[in-house]
C-alpha cells in the first residue's frame, strides 16, 4: 500500500512541487539580501535627498524600524522558515506594523482581476483566430493576421503601454490619464453593484488592452501551426471519408487535438497571473501586486518582496501541477502512460 502511494505519479509530482517551492523560497531569501543597500540605508538616503540632516534622518530611521539587520543571516533565515511554517509572512519594514499578508490581500485581487480577464480574452481570441488562420492559410486574412501577430508579439508590453499613454492619452485625449489611473475612482468602494463593476473595468481597461495585445499574437501563431499540423493527420482525412460533418470535424477532431500542446503554455501563463507585471502596473499606476512589488524592491522591504516572490513561485508550481492533471483528463494517451 505504502509502496503504491510512493510510486504514484501524483504523489511524486506533489513532492517535487513542494521541494521546488522550498528551494525557491530559500534562494529568494538570500538573493534579495545580497542586493546592494538595505532598507535603512535607502530610507536615510531618501531623507537626505529631501534635505533632512543626516543626524535627524538616522534618528527617524531608528525610531521607525524595529529590525535588527545585524542579526546573523542564518538565524534570520530560520526565523523566516519558522514563521512561514505557521503561515506568517511577517511584518512590512516600511509600512511599519502592517502584516505582509494584509498588504497582499489588498493588492493581489486587483492584479488577479486584470490578468485573468486579459488571459481569458487573449487565449480564447488567440485560439479562434489561430484556427481561422489555419483554415484559410495563405489567404489575405491569414497573411494580415500573421503579420500583425508576429509584429505585436515582438513589441515589449511596456512600449505599448507607453504608446497608449502618450499617443491616445496625451495627444489624442481619448481618455483622461489623471482620472483613469489607479484601480478605482476616489470614493468608490468594492461592493456588488454595477456602479462598482463599471468603475473597476474602466480603470482596468488600459492594462487589459496592453496584456491582450502583447500576448494574443503568440497564442494565434502557436494555435495556427498546431491546427495546420492536426489538419494533416490521417484521422482527420478518415473522418471526412466517414461523411462526418465539417463543423463536427473542426471541433471534435481538429481543434480538440490541436489545443492540447497549448495547455502547458496556458498553465505557465496562469501561474504568472499572480505576479502581474510591475512595469505595466507602474505605467498605469494600477494598484496591483506588481506595483507593490516594485515599491518593495525600491525600498528593500524584504518581507514584502519575499512574500510576493514566494506567492508567484507557488502559483506557477501549482498551475503546472493542475495543468498536468488537466492534460491527463484531456489526453488519454498521457493518462495511460501514467498508470
Amino acid at each position: 500500500m505504502l509502496k503504491k502511494i510512493l510510486s504514484n505519479y501524483f504523489f511524486i509530482r506533489l513532492v517535487k512541487a513542494l521541494v521546488t517551492i522550498f528551494v525557491v523560497a530559500t534562494f529568494t531569501f538570500f538573493l534579495i539580501r545580497l542586493m546592494p543597500g538595505n532598507p535603512l540605508d535607502i530610507f536615510i538616503a531618501t531623507q537626505l535627498a529631501q534635505g533632512v540632516p543626516l543626524q535627524e534622518a538616522q534618528e527617524r530611521a531608528a525610531s521607525l524600524f524595529h529590525i535588527d539587520l545585524s542579526r546573523p543571516m542564518m538565524l534570520q533565515y530560520l526565523d523566516y522558515l519558522k514563521n512561514l511554517a505557521r503561515g506568517d509572512f511577517g511584518v512590512s519594514i516600511i509600512s511599519t506594523n502592517t502584516p505582509v499578508s494584509k498588504i497582499i490581500l489588498r493588492f493581489l485581487p486587483w492584479t488577479l482581476f486584470v490578468v485573468t480577464v486579459s488571459l481569458f480574452i487573449s487565449f480564447i481570441g488567440g485560439i479562434l483566430l489561430g484556427v481561422v488562420m489555419a483554415l484559410y492559410r495563405n489567404s489575405w486574412i491569414d497573411q494580415i493576421l500573421s503579420f500583425l501577430a508576429s509584429i505585436i508579439s515582438s513589441i515589449p508590453n511596456y512600449v505599448i503601454a507607453m504608446l497608449i499613454v502618450v499617443y491616445f492619452g496625451v495627444k489624442l485625449k481619448w481618455f483622461n490619464i489623471a482620472e483613469i489611473r489607479g484601480s478605482l475612482s476616489p470614493g468608490v468602494k468594492p461592493e456588488f453593484s454595477l456602479y462598482f463593476l463599471k468603475d473597476a473595468f474602466y480603470h482596468a481597461m488600459l492594462p487589459i488592452i496592453v496584456y491582450v495585445l502583447t500576448t494574443i499574437g503568440s497564442w494565434m501563431l502557436v494555435m495556427k501551426s498546431s491546427t495546420i499540423s492536426t489538419l494533416g493527420e490521417d484521422y482527420v482525412e478518415v473522418a471526412k471519408a466517414r461523411g462526418i460533418k465539417e463543423s463536427r470535424i473542426m471541433t471534435s477532431y481538429v481543434a480538440r487535438n490541436a489545443i492540447l500542446p497549448l495547455f502547458v503554455s496556458l498553465a505557465i501563463s496562469i501561474g504568472f497571473v499572480v505576479g502581474g507585471s510591475p512595469l505595466i502596473e507602474s505605467i498605469f499606476v494600477y494598484q496591483g501586486i506588481g506595483l507593490k512589488l516594485s515599491d518593495a524592491i525600491t525600498t528593500r522591504d524584504y518581507p514584502v518582496m519575499q512574500a510576493i516572490f514566494l506567492i508567484i513561485t507557488a502559483s506557477v508550481v501549482v498551475a503546472n501541477f493542475l495543468a498536468d492533471l488537466l492534460l491527463g483528463v484531456l489526453d488519454p494517451r498521457i493518462r495511460t502512460s501514467r498508470n
Partner: protein, 343 residues
C-alpha cells in the same frame, strides 16, 4: 455480362506542387463491376491513392481534376461523383462507398474511444438509436474476431496495429456499404497479421457482398484477393484483366516484369529480380509511351505515339496499352536478361 458499379472515364488529376505541376493521373478509364474484387497495382507514386480518393471526391486542396468523370451506379441510378454537391457527398461517403485511406493505423481520433467513433459515424448518417448502433458495432467487432466490449471502451492507442486495422474494417461495414476501397491496408503490418487480415477480408466479402477495390504495390496480395487486376504505371492504367489472365499471359512488358520480380518463396531459388530504372517524372505530359525509358521491347513508334488502352484480340475484357503487346510478352521477358537480379 457483369453489371457495372463504378465507371471511371478519362480521368486526369494534377497536383499543384510548390514549383511544378504533377500529373498524377492521366486519362485513366476503368470499369468496376458490381460484387467483384479488383486490385489496383503499381509502383509507389503511380497514382493509386490519387485514384482511390477520387472515388469519393476527397482530393487534397492543391489538386485539380482536369478531365473525366467517375460515375457510381446505385439503385440503378447513375451518380456523377464530381457533380454531386458536398452535402450529398457526405451522405454517400461511408454509407455507400467506404474509402479507407493509406495510413489507417492513425485512422482514429486519439482522444475518442472506439465506441464514440462508431456512434459519431452512425449519427452523421442519420441514425438515432444508440443501443442499435452499439449492437451492430458489437456484432461487427465479433465478426472480425475482437473482444467487442473491451475494444469499444478502448482508446485507439490501447490497441495494436492489427487490431486497429480490424476495428477499421468493422467500422467500415457499419452502414452496409456497396463499395469498400482499401488503400494499402496491410503495408504497415507484419506478415502474419497481414495474412490474417487478408483471410478476414475474404470472409467479410463473402458475408457482406460489397464490391472491393484493393490498392496495393504487392502483386502477390492482389493475386490472392482479386478477381481482376488493374496495373497502373505513371498515372495511367496500362493493363486490366482477370487475375488469371494477367498472371498467365501478361501482354504489357511492365506487368510481365512485375510478375517475374515477385519473389517466389517456394523452390530452392530465393532470388529476387527487379525492373531496372525508375518510374518517370510525373511533372511532364508524355508524348509517347511512359514506359519507354525502361522497356525491353521499345521501338521508334513508342517515342511519339501514346499507346491507348485497348482490348486484346484473344480475350474479352483484357485490356492493354502497349504498341508491342502480345501474348508472348512473358516468354520474351524470361528469356532476355532485362531484369536485374538482386541475390
Amino acid at each position: 455480362m457483369a453489371t457495372k458499379h463504378i465507371i471511371v472515364d478519362d480521368l486526369s488529376v494534377e497536383y499543384l506542387g510548390a514549383t511544378k505541376k504533377i500529373y498524377a493521373l492521366q486519362h485513366v478509364s476503368l470499369d468496376i463491376n458490381r460484387g467483384e474484387s479488383i486490385a489496383l497495382v503499381g509502383e509507389s507514386g503511380c497514382g493509386k491513392s490519387t485514384l482511390g480518393v477520387s472515388f469519393i471526391n476527397l482530393l487534397p486542396l492543391n489538386s485539380r481534376i482536369t478531365s473525366g468523370t467517375i460515375k457510381f451506379i446505385s439503385n440503378s441510378k447513375e451518380i456523377d461523383i464530381f457533380k454531386t454537391p458536398t452535402s450529398e457527398l457526405q451522405k454517400l461517403r461511408w454509407s455507400k462507398i467506404v474509402m479507407m485511406a493509406q495510413g489507417a493505423l492513425n485512422a482514429f481520433n486519439p482522444v475518442m474511444r472506439i465506441r464514440d467513433h462508431f456512434i459519431d459515424t452512425a449519427y452523421s448518417h442519420g441514425w438515432k438509436n444508440k443501443t442499435e448502433i452499439l449492437n451492430k458495432a458489437r456484432y461487427l467487432l465479433k465478426r472480425v474476431h475482437l473482444d467487442s466490449e473491451r475494444v469499444l471502451s478502448s482508446f485507439p492507442h490501447e490497441l495494436s496495429g492489427g487490431m486497429r486495422q480490424r476495428v477499421l474494417l468493422s467500422l467500415g461495414l457499419l452502414l452496409n456499404p456497396e463499395v469498400v476501397i482499401l488503400d494499402e491496408p496491410t503495408t504497415a503490418l507484419d506478415i502474419l497479421t497481414q495474412r490474417n487480415i487478408i483471410e478476414l477480408l475474404k470472409e467479410l466479402k463473402k458475408e457482406f457482398n460489397f464490391t472491393l477495390i484493393f490498392i496495393t504495390h504487392d502483386l502477390s496480395l492482389a493475386a490472392e484477393l482479386a478477381d481482376r487486376v488493374a496495373v497502373m504505371y505513371a498515372g495511367k492504367a496500362v493493363e486490366v484483366g482477370d487475375v488469371y489472365d494477367i498472371f498467365a499471359t501478361p501482354y504489357h512488358p511492365y506487368t510481365a516484369g512485375l510478375i517475374t520480380s515477385t519473389p517466389k518463396l517456394r523452390g530452392e531459388s530465393t532470388e529476387v529480380t527487379s525492373i531496372p530504372g525508375s518510374p518517370p517524372n510525373l511533372s511532364e505530359i508524355f508524348k509517347g509511351c511512359p514506359f519507354y525509358e525502361r522497356c525491353p521491347l521499345r521501338s521508334n513508334v513508342c517515342i511519339n505515339s501514346q499507346p491507348k488502352l485497348t482490348a486484346v484480340e484473344e480475350k474479352d475484357g483484357h485490356l492493354v496499352a502497349c504498341h508491342h503487346a502480345s501474348k508472348n510478352t512473358l516468354e520474351h521477358i524470361k528469356q532476355g536478361d532485362w531484369l536485374s537480379t538482386i541475390q
